[in-house]
Amino acid sequence: MNALDPNKLKVVKEVGRPGVLLAVAQQPASSRLFFGASDFKVHDFDVMAEKPEPVEYAGHESYVTGVVLAGKYMISGGYDGRLIWWDTETKQQVRSILAHSRWIRDLAATPNGKHVVSVADDMVCRIWDVASGKLVRDLLGHDSRTPNHFPSMLYACAISPDGRYIATGDRVGKNIVWDLANGRRLATLETPIMYTWDPKARIHSIGGVRSLAFSSDSSLLAVGGMGQVGNIDHLGGLARVEVFNWQKAERTHEFAGDEYNGLVERLAFAPKDQWLLAAGGDNAGFIKFFDLSASKLIKQDKAPMHVHDFVLNENGGTIYAAGHGKAVVWSLDAA
């Protein structure tokens, strides 16, 4: 029997921080976390320390919306269009490049730490060589404008556990799977329900694909966002997850939500795909666990805050989350 049980989910630590924590990465085999924040900084601290003592890395000129660990570097990306390489030991900036002409929304790193990918509102996914900081390839396939002539946004990216595939998702619910090695487009998956265009009451839109995750064997791609919204002044749609066998372009699962409203901001499969974990929120937050083999929701609970990002530890039993005004640690450990 698995000692880890979503039904034993409990908050084991909350650390208040000013502003909004938008992204998180974990130093392997530790509780040292790096948070991208709305104060334009990266915050580095041991979340489980009795009195966490954050070290702040300044270098961005806007919200820091992505942080990843790649080899010996921590790389951050922000709304200033910059990617910054940081040495996690010296805590010094190593390299800063203007990577995109518009706002960077998300980052992902390959398991071997050789490449990092970035997505931004210039609607380009870029593959970077971590060691040299050189651009390897641009991936172009997302439209810069919505069908109603407004700027589109490229929110989410993910890299498969085998390091072969990249997935990207945009404002209007278009998802593309790419071959990392050669940049070929392998599949296009549509999740239009995640984009609400209101042509009558308010004449603008809300939503978009906010999270992507590959299963451990890379065959499934989970897509997170929010269902259709009646009043788009608020995040009033039900949290929504769709799962695809992307190579067959088949949707295998649809979790339309039942209780919690808001965006699914991050998705992750447990290390052995025991469950798919989703978190996000509206004015409040939620966390959900799905059993794909049974096509059912195992567990859902209110989060202490709107969750913008989380990362699982190595065995999947600890969840480190970043959100509005705080960092939170959940445990699934029966002990």
């Binding site: 700027p151 004449i203 809300i206």
Partner: protein, 436 residues
């Protein structure tokens, strides 16, 4: 020719659009559909200069729902309240606006930004009423809004085009954006357009040609003239005026049709409904309509403020800069006042949905063009945008400034019975720093 004076009588001081057109186009009576070639004539330098000298116009962008001052005219980059968007330098040294407005940043020499509104009303209905009337409404007396007052002051009694046109297509908040003529009467109520950008019922009925229509009008006029012989009655004049006005409005139908505009002009305004309606607004003011309000709803970004403003401010930046360029190229910008305003701004504090809520304590409007000292900023909010730090004003001062910029005495009084009702509340002064 004549313009109504403040007590409802007529003044011969003003030069009406009718005399202006009459002297320059040698026309008589009302315009017919064929006369709408005036649009082309108005593009000639001489005509534009004449219009510039004698006639002033207003286009209001009503940003319904409450646009964020922080993502438009009063950014606070790097502050906890500032949000993710940076400030960019404009073409006026020392003035920065949101990076979401790159086009307006290069046209700020025409614009005065007012950053110190404290209007105190944080609900949509109350805020919208205040910013339409320039003062709080009264239960005992229905007050006219800005459009009605300007239509009253600048419109012509025999105008062939509507004096006050208001677009509001979105359904949300429409009740707060309709406009009201109050005690000035239905004559100054807006031609209010909702689902269509073109007014309904202006077209001739099927089977009735323009010649038929003119013949019928001539016959009606002949009979009316015979009936009037030997009779003196104000209602007779009003009766004929009403017919002339309807006839004129019918001839203005093509003003609402932008299909004939060059593609380059249409691109200048963009493909959205807001852009198209703004192009119609330019056509209307060019043809003589003194006041057009183009409402763009709905900005009420309680959730996802930054995404909403990325969409809507980007659109506003394109449409407004396109309008200003077009007006300038036609020599109309000096005579046209372009205003952006809402019922209120949005909270500096960012909520858990990454939204901003209603906020009336320190927000911004902009005035561009006619009578305005461009490239200026009036007032100041504090470093986080929570309060007004300098130059606090209310809606009344904005209205007084608008009237002053248009050459209208803001202290002028209407009379409702024996009660004097000034255009702005007594004691209100225009912002001299904003006036050219």
């Amino acid at each position: 020719m004549t313009r109504r004076n403040s007590s409802g009588g007529l003044s011969d001081q003003a030069i009406s659009r009718r005399s202006f057109l009459g002297s320059t186009l040698a026309t008589t009576a009302v315009l017919t559909a064929a006369d709408m070639t005036v649009l082309d004539a108005l593009q000639s330098p001489a005509m534009a200069e004449e219009l510039k000298r004698k006639d002033k116009r207003v286009i209001v962008f009503w940003l319904a729902g409450g646009a964020s001052q922080l993502e438009t005219w009063d950014p606070k980059p790097g502050r906890p309240t500032g949000g993710p968007y940076r400030a960019i330098q404009t073409n006026v040294p020392g003035i920065q606006i949101s990076e979401l407005m790159p086009k307006m940043s290069q046209r700020l020499q025409h614009t005065s930004i007012i950053r110190s509104l404290n209007t105190k009303i944080g609900d949509h209905g109350g805020g919208a009423t205040l910013m339409h009337l320039g003062r709080r409404d009264e239960s005992a007396l229905k007050l006219p809004d800005l459009g009605a007052m300007i239509a009253r002051e600048m419109g012509q009694i025999d105008s062939a085009v509507p004096d006050y046109v208001a677009f509001y297509t979105a359904t949300e908040g429409r009740g707060g954006g309709t406009g009201q003529s109050g005690f000035l009467g239905a004559r100054y109520a807006p031609m209010f357009l909702t689902t269509e950008s073109k007014p309904a019922d202006l077209s001739l009925p099927p089977g009735i040609g323009e010649i038929d229509h003119q013949t019928r009008a001539d016959l009606r006029q002949l009979l009316s003239n015979r009936f009037s012989e030997g009779r003196k009655s104000s209602s007779l004049g009003s009766h004929n005026e009403a017919y002339a006005r309807v006839r004129g409005l019918m001839s203005s139908e093509q003003l609402f049709d932008i299909s004939g505009e060059p593609q380059s002009i249409r691109d200048q305004y963009g493909p959205t409904l807001f852009g198209e309606q703004t192009l119609v607004a330019r056509r209307l003011i060019e043809a003589g309509t003194p006041f057009v309000k183009v409402s763009r709803a709905w900005w009420d970004s309680h959730g996802q403020n930054f995404e909403t403003h990325l969409e809507l401010v980007t659109e506003l930046d394109h449409v407004m800069s396109g309008l200003l360029d077009d007006l300038e190229q036609r020599g109309l910008l000096d005579n046209t006042l372009v205003i952006t305003m809402s019922e209120f701004g949005r909270t500096p504090n960012i909520n858990a949905s990454l939204g901003r809520d209603h906020f009336a304590s320190a927000w911004s409007v902009s005035l561009t063009g006619c009578g305005i000292k461009g490239g200026s900023v009036y007032g100041k909010s504090d470093e986080d945008g929570q309060t007004v730090a300098d130059g606090e004003i209310g809606a009344a001062q904005v209205f007084a400034t608008i009237f002053h910029a248009l050459g209208i005495d803001h202290e002028k009084e209407y009379y409702v019975g024996v009660r004097p009702v000034p255009l702005t509340d007594p004691g209100t002064e225009p912002l001299k720093e904003v006036i050219a």
